[in-house]
Amino acid sequence: MDRKLLSNVRNVYVLFIRSASSCQWSRVSSIKIDISRPVYANRPEKYLINSDLIFTRHYSADKSKELAESRYDEQTAVSTSVAERIKEGTKTAAYAGFVFMGFGVALVIFYAVFSELFSSKSPHKVYSKAVDYVISDDRVQNAIGDQIKSFGEETRRGRRQHVSHIEYEKDGRTYLRMKFHVKGNRASGTVHLEMVENDAGKFEYRYLFVIVDDVYRKTIILEDNRNKYDGSSVISPLFTDQSGEPFKELDLSLK
């Protein structure tokens, strides 16, 4: 048996015993003595220990005692002065503020990600559906080839996830205009589309066309519903009579 006495910071001497079989120190008892009493002040272990105990280590000099006591006070003593309490309270409030601020920022970011990925009117969903629509179109496949992949604008770091888009409102309707790129194994193309919010609040294609990026710049129009939602407010003055009313019917017969 090997024995060891350690003083901890609270004037409590803790006795450790190490058995021969295992190398672990195990605490068997703790004995409290008052170091501030003069009899113990010089060598507290002298009065504390039975004769058969062997010390391997002890920290019970006067210096360490002071250190220990001051440390103990700092950690657990309840401060009573008003200034102290205000200081502590402000500290706690500041930390809590930082934590809540962090949570708030994280929440905003996660909300942005989820609304982008799962909302049906988000640019990502519109892009996703438009891609499926475009690459399944025969004319597009004929023009640019099979194995079509799609991507947005390329950034400096070689990432092409960001699809260029802009959302705007006109006459109380929300419009979403978008542009992205497709590339088949023969040629590449640029897709332009605009979505308009219909009366049910869902997005519909206002137009969708592909320009093949070669010398001919062939345009493949997949959707053109512009006459559906363009109200009278967008009719140019060319098609109205002098009173501002649109022509009901144009007389084109040559007389």
């Binding site: 942005a112 990925l117 990502h124 991507f151 770091r157 959302e167 590449s188 006459n227 084109l252």
Partner: protein, 170 residues
């Protein structure tokens, strides 16, 4: 056609690897500087010496760890681009989760799952920041340009009142 001549993908792996290494080295140096400064014995000279030692010992290791992360991430990202034929935020999030999982593979399945969730969340946060920044710039652009003309390749807008405009007929 003009700016999309070269595919970014296989080359991007090297790029990301190096970028991550640089980031890890610089960030690790700052971190280790503070850590070495605090852990060193008293005396300003000794403290700076401690900082330099800590940076010498740890910063390249941290940079290497970052480089491994960035490299694996980019490899998976490029593979996903190749397989899905589509580039969107899902690629990043999935590859972040996969990278976290793969790099924790030696620590057992529960650690792998935790690490994968962590990696996915980090990448989702990064994507979220970029989405928010895009929205912000889009808002500014909308305020600048108020006129939204239809593209000319579509031709003039069909007349909602039936007849086509006269100049198209002639």
């Amino acid at each position: 056609m003009e700016e999309h001549v070269r595919e970014p993908c296989p080359w991007r792996i090297v790029d990301d690897c190096g970028g991550a290494f640089a980031m890890g080295c610089i960030g690790g140096s700052i971190f280790q500087f503070v850590k070495g400064f605090r852990n060193a014995p008293k005396g300003i000279g000794r403290r700076f010496q401690g900082s330099v030692t800590a940076i010498q010992q740890r910063a390249p290791v941290i940079g290497g760890n970052f480089a491994v992360w960035g490299g694996v991430f980019s490899v998976i990202d490029c593979s996903l681009v190749y397989m899905r034929k589509k580039e969107d935020p899902w690629n990043s999030i999935i590859s972040g989760a996969a990278t976290g999982g793969i790099l924790a593979a030696r620590n057992g399945v529960p650690t792998m799952i935790g690490s994968a969730v962590f990696g996915g969340c980090i990448l989702a946060l990064i994507e979220g920041v970029s989405i928010l920044m895009n929205r912000f710039t889009a808002d500014q652009m909308r305020q600048q340009s108020q006129v939204f003309e239809d593209p000319s390749v579509l031709g003039p807008s069909p007349n909602p009142y039936g007849s086509p405009p006269p100049y198209q007929q002639m």
